[in-house]
Subunit: 190 residues, 2 copies
């Protein structure tokens, strides 16, 4: 196997460093040190720290298995449940104190970094669109009350999930996630 | 009227500076400059920046009108709606890019500042408890499905509201708040 390029080494390690410490909580030096690459090499590969964070955002998203929302042969409500369960367990694996990288970047960067804000906007738009489609399908099959606005319900769910992931940082137990799963799937989507 | 003390001037101005820029987004110097007090006076009044942020958190909370959740003569479901409507309009007044100070501090500080984390934990516990009481009362009156767990529903709502407030920073329009109000009160609490 070929050795990973310096860029690859830096970028893949940065996902973890940024997730653990947040954008403002780590410096370029912290990131290059954690990656084991020379600090001076940073600007050969990335224009600035925001560019690296955008790259990290997309690497983080690769692990979100959004394909589960479209899995053939699985009823739409079950796909929604599988999707949010998967995200929930994934965020818990990293430890309660981290939360979701999307939420962290939203809180820390949306205001001062327009390029990141636009990336986040597109990411949430795509995510909400996929959830909306599954909600609509569940409504068509009579699994979910058809009187609810599917788009609004989808966006509400995604934001509620991000709110729960943020709350993990405070409670340091899985309760916010359990509250989300139970309320979303026993009280709202039915 | 007596002139506000230097401490009061510093602390009341800090709420706005911290809300506008976040904890890591402004320095002690930014805060003292915005307050129009000498930088050197900071440590006469606060032990450190975290202490000032905790003071700012409590000042911010004074404006949340949590008494609306207990208003006599108003049915519980209406009190819940009034409460979240009030919070929503309040967060919108500050502009889409700010979000909620609780959520900002949770994202930025919960991990590295245990004292702030404990304050936030207590604040959310109190808030969720008050919402839970109103949900229970609404259930007892037959306004809300009594099969839902009131505590879980309350915590879900509070976290969902924080998720919506965080999303404002990205969408820069009121849609996340409208999605919250509509879904919470038309689809969930019924």
């Amino acid at each position: 196997m070929a050795r990973p390029s310096l860029r690859e080494k830096l970028a893949s390690s940065a996902v973890d460093t940024l997730h653990a410490h947040g954008f403002t909580g780590c410096s370029i030096q912290d990131i290059t040190e954690a990656a084991g690459v020379p600090k001076g090499s940073f600007f050969n590969h990335f224009e600035n720290k925001e560019d690296l964070a955008i790259d990290a955002l997309h690497r983080y998203l690769e692990g979100t298995r959004s394909d589960m929302l479209f899995e053939e042969g699985v009823p739409p409500l079950e796909r929604l449940k599988n999707h949010f369960s998967f995200l929930s367990e994934r965020v818990l694996v990293h430890g309660f104190e981290r939360g979701c990288l999307l939420g962290i970047f939203a809180a820390e960067m949306a205001q001062e970094y327009p390029k990141m804000r636009e990336e986040l906007r597109l990411v949430f738009e795509t995510w909400c669109g996929a959830v909306e489609q599954a909600v609509s399908e569940a409504q068509a099959r009579g699994e979910v009350d058809p009187r609810h606005d599917a788009g609004q319900t989808a966006r509400f769910l995604v934001n509620a999930w991000e709110g729960a992931a943020l709350q993990l940082k405070i409670t340091r137990n899985r309760r916010p996630i359990d509250d989300f799963m139970n309320t979303a799937f026993k009280a709202l989507l039915k």
